[in-house]
Each structure stands twice: as C-alpha cells, then as structure tokens.
C-alpha cells in the first residue's frame, strides 16, 4: 500500500463568513490553536483524513481585503504567498456575495489555485437569492461549491472537488480583473523592471504583476520588501511615484482608488450576472431584533443587562467550582504535608508547587465561563452591537467600543479581562486597553480596602472604598488618553465595523471555542504564573534558618517549664497526681458549668435579655459542686488563669518568630531595601513587605499584614490587626496604602497573561513598571498634599 498523499489547504474569507464553522466541520477534534509566529493573531491548524489524502487545514484570520491595513491581512497574504498552500478555499457568505467577492477578487489576483465555498446557502435561500453557480464558476475561473457549513451540508462535495483538482481531473485558472489602460501600462512597465531587479527566489513567491499593483496602491509593507530585496530599489520607487503622478493627472484620481473601484466593479459584475432576487423586502429577523437591542430607548438598558449578566455568570457561577478547586488544592496540601517529613521539601511541594499550580487553576472556571459567554456574544452577533452602543463613551476615553467588555470584567479579575481583549482587532486598541485595564480594581483588592477602611474610617467605609474604585476609573481614562497620544501618535484607527446578521451559533462551535482558549490559558499563561509564584514562595520562605534576635527554642522551652511548674503546684494543692488535672472530677464539672453559663448568656444576649437568670443558675451549680468538693473553686480558678496565660504567651512567641522570619526572609530584606523609596509615601518596611507579597495575588497583602504585625493565632485576629494598624499608621497613610494597592504592579497571574496575550516582554515590563511608577506618583501627591493640609 502506498502512504497517504499529504497536502496543505487553507480557508480564507471575510469575518463571520463561517470559516471556523467549516474548519470545525472538517477537522472535528483534530485541531490546535496557537499564534502566528511573532504576532498575536490566532492560528488554527487541523488535519482532515479524506479517502487516500491527509490534509493539513489552516483557518486564516477573517479579513476584508489584502491590503496591509491590519496584521491579519498581512499574515493571511504572507501565508498564501510564502507557504504556498496547495489550495486556497475562499469561503464567502452567499447572503452578502457582492461585498464578499471583493476579497475573492484580490485572492484571484494572487494567481494561486482556489475553490469558492458558497456558504450560508440556507439563509440566502430564505432571503430569496437565486445563485447561478456554473455562471459564477465561469466568471471567476474557479470551482464553486454551495454549502451550509453549520449543518455540514456540502463539505463532502468540497473535499471531492479538492480531490479532483489534486488528481488533475479539473483545471483551475483564476480570472482576474483588468484595469484601465493607463494603469495596465504602468503595471506592465513596473512588472518588467521588477523582473530584472528582484532575485528569482523572491519572484517565485511574490508574483511581479501583483507587486506592481501593490506598489501603485502605495502598500507600505510591499514598499519595505522591495527596498530590502530589489537591486536599485530607489529607481523603482521613483518610477512608481512618477507613474502614480501621471495616472492621477490623467484620470483625476489616485491609482489606489481606481484599483479598488475596479475590483469592486469586477465583484459587482460577477454578482449581478449570477444572482437573482426572487422575493424582495421580506421581514428580516436581524432588523426586527435590532429594532429592540440597539434602539434609542431600550438599547442601553439591554446592553447594561447583558453586561451585568455576563459579569454575574462569570464570577458568581464561576466562583462555585473555583471554591471546589481551591478546597481541593488545600486538601492536597494537607495530605502532602502529612506524607512529607523533610521540612524544606514539604514547604516546596505544599506552598510552592501545589500552591502555585492551584493559583493557576483556580481561575480556570471563570475563564471557561467567560469564554463561553464571549463566544456566544460573538457568534450570535451581539458583540458588534455592544461595541456599537458603547463606542461613544469609549471613544471619549481614547478607546474602542469593544474595549468596554474587558474593562467591566476587570472589576472581577484582571486575568480573564486581559484575555477578553481578544475581541479587539486593532493591536493599538488592544495594547492600550490591556495597559489601563489593570486599573480596574479587581475583587482580590477588596479585602485590603475592607481592612483599612474598616480600621481607619469605620463611619465612612463605603464611601472610602467607592472613592478608590472611582480613582481607578479616572486614572484609566486619563492614562488611556495619554497612551493614545504618546505611545501611538498619528491617526487613530477608524471605527468602521460590520454589524453582522444575528445568527444561532452551533453548540459544537461554542464548546470548541471555550475549550481552546481555556487550554491555551493553562498551557501558556500557566507556566509564567507558576514560575512567578514559586519565585515569590522562595523569596518569602528563604533563608529557612536566619540568624534570629533570640533563641526561640529556649524561650518556648522556658515558658513550657514555667507552665509545668505552676501546674504541679496546683495539682499539689488539689491533692491529685500532676498529669490528671484535666480529668479531675470537680474541674470537669466546673468546666461544664461555665460552658453552660456561657451558652445560656449568648442566647440571652441575642434576645437582649438580662443575664440575671443565667448568673443565678451558675451560682447555684457552683455551690452544688463545692458542697461535694469543698475549697476547690479558688484552685480551679487559678488553674484556668494559668491555662489562658500559657496559650497567650505561646501565641505571642510564635507570632514574634513568624514576624522575625518574615522580616529576615529575602522578601523581607527586599522590603527593607526598597522601603526608603516608599518612605516619601509614608510607608514603613512592614507596609513594603506586605505590598511585595501582594505580587502573587493581592488578597495575600492582608494575610502578610497579619504576620508582620505579630497578630498571632488569636481568635479575634481581625480586630487585633486593626488595632495594631491604628497604632502604626495614620488615616492618611492608610488611605495612601489603599491607593497604592489599587494602582501598583498587577499580580503575577495578570502579568503572565499580559505576556502571553501581547506576546511581548517589552509591553509586559512596561505595564508592570508604569503602574508602579504611577502608584508612587499618585500616592506621593495624596500623602504630601494631605500632610500640607495637616490631615496626617
């Protein structure tokens, strides 16, 4: 038997023409998503087994044209020209054939073998279009296959046609538009010049006629290529300029416009000769829906409702499995800490690895749900409407309508929010949105505000927290406008966006969409997050045995020895053997009596009744016990006092040890080292350490505060922490601390996804450093301003 024949095919077409649906129908589960090298444009690749063929199928990004307007367009045309797939499948939306054929015309001009997939035939029929397929095939010079990709209709015909072409049973010779005589002459001249001045290899990939047209269109990317590859490129480019000038003066318009006009002419011609409208002006479902969803009155309420619903689903529903996952990891942690006896290994496995993997996976439910919702919004066509409605506001901020949804999600968690910026096609918009999105105060920062607002502004806690959120929004607006001007000067991208018809998405499509992105998050972002978490773990738990200011082992031992001496004394007075105090009958009865009193008084307090009844019951019970065991009550009371004293002393010691270890760890030393920088903001080294620990996840800040303020394991930990905070900070520094926590460096997980999503360390580092600098500046202004006003 011969091996299978292997070929590469690619699917090209307008956004929303059904490329991904066709791709999924053909490849099934045999696909994987990645990025095109060096850029953030998504690349989907899959394999199709068909008879004795194996096809590698590439889903190109959705594009309207083959100019160099967007990264997607450059990626697509470079792929077709450089990788030379054996066949291009151009999928077009049959309900929208005229506009779709504009791209087809440009693909024909590349001169590569191509098949037309006439998709959405079901909708076209409903709308009353009758398409003469053979006529269309003749006009374009390529085979055309009608299909309904969402129901798998026509996909076998498509593969059969592909097979026939590859077996040489049919010929494909794409036709292409011819231009006005002046342009054709210029093209011929330039073509000849390019043939002599370009290396043969280059010409094999980029056909000279196509290059000549692109030069007349002033395509910057192609001009760059010519400069790099052609001998005597200056002369060629001068000639291009001269031709452009000549054509403009003769025909009254620049070649770029004339060429586009004629491409549309070719497309409209093909459309008019092949498509008949049977019925006209039937009620259109999309228009009906839009009459509500984008209407003047109901548009905004519906929009807010949908955004609110998406947010709620992502975080309320997502937090349920999120809790399971974190409980699961906690359980794993306990399990391993029992099994492993070597302390450093235990800490590495439990805190470093299990903790780190856990911190990656806890976000997974949120991310899966979010992507399901986004897929739903995109595939139904509502996403474009959401951008349509919110663009007015976002444009004012220097952003794009589609930035709105990621920004809202940012209030829940910045990690999925960064991933949600994928809906933005324009890279500049995406970068700016990601940069300012971290200023949306995520829910992990809330515990910090709750602690500080509760401790320092108990009467105005709500307003204080709200002011922090508001500050984040205001800063995001200001920074977005600054970035727009400073980072991306020049004309901003136009907001010209298609409002596609509403469609019912397929279940399979939604699931694949959700799963792909979830898997990508775990794979790619996961590695960065994991590495970051382990680094922070290392910094905060090493050195494991720092030189301590006191011999804690001895202090623990001394306290225990003292305790045992006191207990022995009590035992002697009670006439019991030293070890049997806990089971000594009168002591147990006293314990029970006091416990009963305690319970009873709690109940009474709840009912707001006086405690007299409980007190008299207690008095009575105590008297009863004493009548059996005379003179035991004072001894019992001394015993109780000693037990409490011992527990408190040990707790204090443990807290002191933890605090000292924390301050002497690498993270602590870093905190002390960095502290002078934060001193002008009113922070001491303790604040600094807490902020550094917050890099893993901002909710850790509060826990670290507890450790370094030596709160220990007292029951009313929160209260005690607030008390020691009040002793060490002023309301002004507390507020500044909240402000700093809001703005500074996003957590490791967010940095991980930013790196992954922007595919650039440069932007990632920029995001990390600008936020920190901004945090410093804003905090400085508030702190110093506050001191001037004598608020400190």
């Amino acid at each position: 038997m011969m091996g299978k024949k292997h070929y590469t095919l690619c699917i090209a077409g307008n956004p929303n023409s059904g490329k991904t649906t066709l791709f999924n129908a053909l490849t099934g589960a045999k696909q994987h998503v990645g990025n095109w090298p060096g850029v953030t444009v998504e690349k989907k690749e899959g394999t199709v087994e068909f008879e004795d063929f194996t096809f590698t199928l590439i889903d190109l990004p959705g594009i309207y044209s083959l100019t160099a307007y967007s990264l997607e367009e450059v990626v697509s045309r470079d792929f077709i020209l450089r990788e030379r797939p054996d066949l291009v499948i151009n999928i077009v939306d049959a309900t929208n054939l005229e506009r779709n054929l504009y791209l087809t015309t440009q693909l024909l001009e590349l001169g590569v073998p191509m098949i037309l997939a006439l998709n959405m035939m079901d909708e076209a029929e409903k709308k009353g279009f009758r398409i003469k397929v053979p006529q269309l095939e003749k006009l374009l010079g390529i085979p055309a296959v009608p299909m309904v990709a969402s129901r798998g209709i026509g996909t076998q015909d498509l593969l059969n046609t592909v097979k026939k072409f590859l077996n040489g049973e049919i010929q494909i010779s794409p036709r292409r538009p011819t231009y006005r005589r002046e342009i054709e002459n210029a093209v011929k001249d330039l073509e000849a010049a390019l043939r002599t001045h370009l290396p043969g290899e280059f010409q094999k990939k980029y056909p000279p006629r196509w290059l000549a047209l692109k030069l007349l269109e002033q395509d910057e990317e192609i001009i760059g290529k010519i400069k790099r590859n052609a001998t005597d490129s200056d002369a060629i480019l001068r000639r291009v300029d001269a031709e452009i000038e000549k054509i403009t003066s003769i025909l009254g318009d620049d070649p770029e416009t004339l060429i586009a006009d004629q491409r549309y002419g070719f497309a409209s011609g093909a459309f008019k000769e092949t498509v008949r409208m049977l019925l006209k002006d039937r009620i259109n479902l999309t228009d009906q829906i839009d009459r509500v969803l984008t209407s003047r009155i109901l548009g905004i309420p519906f929009f807010l409702l949908i955004i609110w619903g998406s947010f709620q689903l992502t975080f309320t529903l997502g937090n349920i499995p999120m809790n399971w996952i974190s409980d699961g990891f906690n359980f794993l942690g306990t399990l391993f800490s029992h099994w492993i006896t070597i302390p450093w290994l235990k800490s590495l496995v439990v805190d470093g690895i299990i903790g780190g993997v856990g911190s990656v996976l806890v976000f997974l439910p949120n991310i899966l749900i979010l992507f399901l919702i986004i897929a739903l919004l995109e595939d139904t066509g509502y996403m474009a409407r959401a951008a349509f409605i919110s663009d007015r506001v976002m444009h004012f901020f220097g952003l794009h309508g589609k930035s709105f949804i990621p920004m809202v999600i940012g209030f829940g968690c910045n990690v999925p929010a960064v991933m949600a910026t994928r809906v933005l096609e324009n890279n500049k918009d995406r970068v700016i949105t990601i940069l300012v999105l971290t200023l949306m105060s995520c829910s992990a920062r809330l515990p910090i505000y709750v602690l500080f607002a509760g401790a320092f502004f108990p009467k105005h806690a709500g307003n204080v927290v709200f002011s922090i959120y508001l500050l984040g929004i205001v800063l995001a607006i200001v920074m977005a406008r600054i970035f727009r001007v400073v980072l991306f000067p020049g004309e901003s991208a136009p907001f010209v966006m298609e409002l596609p018809p509403y469609r019912l998405p397929t279940f399979k499509g939604l699931m694949i969409h959700m799963w792909d992105r979830g898997a990508m998050y775990v794979q790619k972002a996961g590695t960065v997050i994991l590495a970051g978490s382990m680094l922070i773990w290392f910094l905060s738990s090493y050195p494991a045995h720092p030189r301590l200011s006191a011999d804690y082992a001895r202090l623990f031992h001394q306290e225990t020895a003292r305790h045992e001496r006191v207990l022995a004394q009590i035992a002697r007075e009670a006439h019991v053997p030293a070890g049997q105090l806990t089971t000594y009958p009168p002591f147990r009865q006293y314990d029970e009596a006091y416990e009963a009193f305690h319970r009873r008084s709690q109940e009474l307090l709840k009912k707001q009744c006086a405690l007299t009844s409980a007190a008299s019951v207690l008095k009575h019970t105590l008297e009863g016990i004493q009548s059996h065991y005379p003179n035991t009550l004072p001894i019992y009371q001394a015993y109780r006092q000693e037990m409490t004293r011992y527990q408190e002393a040990m707790g204090r010691l443990r807290a002191r040890l933890a605090a000292e270890k924390a301050s002497k760890s690498y993270a602590g030393r870093l905190g002390k080292f960095v502290a002078p920088v934060l001193h002008p903001l009113g922070f001491d080294w303790r604040n600094t350490i807490a902020l550094i620990s917050g890099l893993v996840a901002k909710e850790i800040v509060v826990g670290t505060m507890g450790v370094i303020y030596k709160v220990g394991d007292a029951k009313n930990e929160g209260e005690k922490l607030m008390e020691s905070l009040r002793k060490n900070m002023t309301p002004l520094t507390a507020y500044v601390f909240m402000v700093f926590s809001l703005i500074y460096l996003p957590c490791i997980a967010t940095i991980g996804v930013i790196r992954r999503e922007l595919n650039s360390w440069k932007w990632t580092l920029f995001s990390a450093s600008y936020t920190t600098v901004l945090a410093w500046i804003v905090s400085f202004i508030i702190y110093q301003g506050g001191r001037l006003l004598r608020l400190g």
Binding site: E98, D261, I300, A387, I389, H395, P494, M497, L499
Partner: protein, 82 residues
C-alpha cells in the same frame, strides 16, 4: 464634478439614501472604508444612530456597517430623491 449638491454622510436623515460621490480621506482610514464597501458609486442608506448619538449605522452593498460621524463627515453623498 461640482460638490454643491453633495452632502456629508454624517448629515443624512434616517432612512435617506444616496450614492457616494467623493471621499475626502486618505491613508489607512480611506483604505478601510473602501474595504467595507464605501467606494464611489456605491449606494448607501442611513439606518440609525447608536443610542448615545454616535456611531451611525449605514447600509452599504447589502451590509450593515457602523461608522463614526467623524469618519462619515468625509464621505460625500449625492442624495437620491425618494
């Protein structure tokens, strides 16, 4: 071609139709508009504006396209009398 009876796309009334006669933009914006079907001779219909007053929804070559007023200002239309 005289521009007297031409009207910027941004000033069409809802439901009004016309034919594109002139584009006053250059560069990337021009290119994008052309890709979306805004070329000389194309028929356009103004459907409605977004709830907040900008962008506007235009029907061009059978597609619903949203475009900001600041961009629509540079597309000049010869209004088709209805």
């Amino acid at each position: 071609m005289e521009t007297d009876n031409l009207k910027p796309l941004s000033e069409l009334l809802p439901g009004e139709k016309g034919v594109i006669r002139k584009m006053r933009t250059k560069g990337a914006i021009r290119r994008r508009l052309m890709d979306m079907g805004f070329v000389g001779g194309a028929t356009v219909e103004f459907e409605k504006t977004a709830p907040l007053g900008d962008p506007m929804e235009i029907l061009v070559k059978g597609c619903h396209v949203s475009i900001r007023k600041e961009e629509a200002r540079n597309v000049l239309i010869e209004v088709t009398p209805s």
